[in-house]
């Protein structure tokens, strides 16, 4: 467990490049539509709710609560916990929980974002707040 798990580098594309550029500065970004006011994740250029193209980047607090999770007991890289976090800003995001006791995760628990390095931009994960 002492070996740091190796994560794949995001490929990125023109639509999402700003997210990964911000991640390099430790910022967790979401998209918000200025037409309907809704935030969404993962980021799109066209709002998935009202189809407006007036979407803007917004730095999220990185705080949220666990919506659900599942602890995968075995894998080639050891146990890991996948789940969804409902961000303070509203959207729920898929993630892994890291740097905490995976046996003690609970729905409703408060968590915060942490970034883990890859060979490219760092990836967002969540840990117990």
């Amino acid at each position: 467990m002492s070996e740091a798990k190796k994560y794949p580098a995001p490929v990125t594309n023109p639509e999402t490049a700003a997210f990964w550029d911000a991640a390099k500065e430790g910022k967790f970004m979401i998209k918000r539509c200025t037409a309907c006011g809704e935030a969404h994740y993962f980021p799109r250029s066209i709002c998935p709710f009202c189809y407006s193209d007036k979407t803007v980047w917004e730095q999220a607090s990185g705080e949220g609560t666990i919506y659900t999770y599942s602890l995968m007991r075995k894998s080639p890289t050891g146990p890991y916990a996948i789940g969804y976090v409902t961000l303070k800003e509203g959207p729920s995001v898929q993630t892994n929980f890291v740097d905490c006791d995976l046996e003690k995760l609970k729905i409703g628990q408060k968590v915060k974002v942490v970034f883990k390095p890859t060979d490219g931009a760092p990836l967002p994960f969540f840990t117990v707040a």
């Binding site: 994560y7 794949p8 995001p10 490929v11 990125t12 594309n13 999402t16 990964w20 809704e38 969404h40 994740y41 993962f42 799109r44 998935p48 709710f49 919506y67 659900t68 999770y69 599942s70 602890l71 995968m72 007991r73 075995k74 894998s75 890991y80 996948i82 789940g83 969804y84 409902t86 961000l87 509203g90 959207p91 729920s92 995001v93 898929q94 993630t95 892994n96 729905i107 890859t118 990836l123």
Partner: protein
């Protein structure tokens, strides 16, 4: 415009193999095609519609060529790919094509060998950078649904275990089933935890194999020798996290595909005598039963408990072949076998120990993809004429 009664399932075949190290995937497709053609009593040269999904090597045109279908006659193809429920969608699409006069005898094939060969790769979606690193698998994606269902509705592992218990009661009579031993709730709870809260026995088997259908017009079906089984309602739907808004993993796209199919058929879940419900995991069945309206949302746990899904014992006999939990799950896609056992029940060809008496209305329902991430669902209502 409706497909109600406009298409009949005239031929079915399920490959008996569960382990095929000495066969190719294309060969398995040919073997199930041949089986369904012979079951229907038609010639392969009469087939004018072909349906296949992502398991067919190379897709529709290489398969049409490999299978030696009559290209002078073949005039309709459909390679809709929605994972495990693709074949239930194909059944509906075949009925639409038949009703529109675009083909008259359609062949649908599924085959592959996840136990003894490579699985076909899947193209990445727009979400890839934001999800692929987190290792969503079938086990943990369905585990996430079960975890939240338990949280919201008090569903228990014991209740989920009853689904496996019922499947095992049926599988003991299926000579081809991978797992023929009858199991208890305790057996399920004592099996190793795979991805919380799902135990090993909450998970389906991994098997080689396949199956095929012949779908045709009422007139052609009546000219053949098999008992008449027709499609009277069909629905399909999709669901995903949709930008993360109002995420709710306790229901599936079955809440939309089910009512569409029942409305078209003009019946309700109470009328159903036999149910084929996709059972990739026990939680899949529980959620689908709720979503299809066999019980209220959140009451699936009570509904499946105490043997209510066991043929001859409970109110809703399900997956009387043993289903994916015990019999087979060819290419990790359970939609085809759901249709096949429903047709056997309607024909009166199920094993006598599990055959439902006077079985005149059945449902075959499946999902594809990951219920915990994004998925499709399809529902077919079938009637014995």
């Amino acid at each position: 415009m409706t497909i109600k009664g406009k298409a009949y399932i005239a031929g079915i075949y399920e490959h008996p193999t569960r382990h095929a190290p000495d066969k190719s995937t294309a060969q398995l497709h040919a073997e199930v095609a041949k089986g369904a053609i012979e079951d229907a009593g038609i010639s392969k040269d009469d087939i004018d519609g072909y349906f296949c999904a992502g398991d067919a090597p190379g897709g529709a045109w290489p398969m049409v060529d490999y299978l030696g279908l009559n290209t002078k006659k073949l005039r309709h193809v459909d390679s809709t790919e929605t994972g495990g429920c693709s074949y239930i969608i194909h059944l509906g699409h075949a009925a639409e094509a038949i009703a529109a006069g675009k083909c008259s005898i359609a062949l649908v094939t599924l085959a592959g060998k996840p136990r003894t060969g490579a699985m076909p790769p899947r193209a990445a979606g727009a979400e890839v950078d934001f999800e692929s690193a987190y290792g969503a698998t079938t086990h943990n994606a369905y585990g996430m649904c079960a975890m939240r269902h338990m949280h919201d509705y008090g569903t228990t592992s014991e209740q989920l275990a009853w689904i496996k218990v019922a499947a095992s009661h049926h599988a003991q009579y299926n000579p081809h089933a991978m797992l023929k031993d009858v199991v208890t709730v305790e057996d399920v709870l004592n099996s190793p935890m795979i991805s919380d809260p799902l135990h090993r026995m909450d998970c389906c088997v991994v098997s080689d194999g396949g199956g095929a259908l012949i779908v045709t017009t009422p007139e052609i079906a009546r000219s053949l020798k098999k008992p008449l089984v027709r499609l009277i309602g069909h629905g399909e739907a999709m669901k995903g996290p949709r930008g993360g808004k109002d995420l709710d993993l306790t229901y599936s796209a079955g809440v939309w595909s089910g009512p569409r199919a029942f409305e078209e058929a003009g019946i309700t879940p109470k009328d159903i005598k036999y149910a084929s419900i996709y059972d990739s995991f026990t939680i899949t069945v529980l959620m689908q039963l709720e979503d299809l309206g066999f019980c209220k949302k959140g009451e699936g746990g009570k509904f499946v408990a105490d043997g209510n899904l066991i043929s001859g014992v409970g109110k809703l006999p399900f997956n009387t072949d043993g289903g994916g939990l015990c019999s087979n799950h060819p290419v990790n896609r359970g939609g085809m076998t759901k249709i096949l056992e429903a047709v056997r029940q309607l024909r009166g060809e199920a094993h006598p120990k599990v055959q439902v008496k006077n079985c005149d209305l059945a449902i075959a329902h499946g999902t594809g993809g990951l219920l915990g991430v994004r998925h499709a669902a399809s529902t077919a209502i079938l009637e014995r004429v």
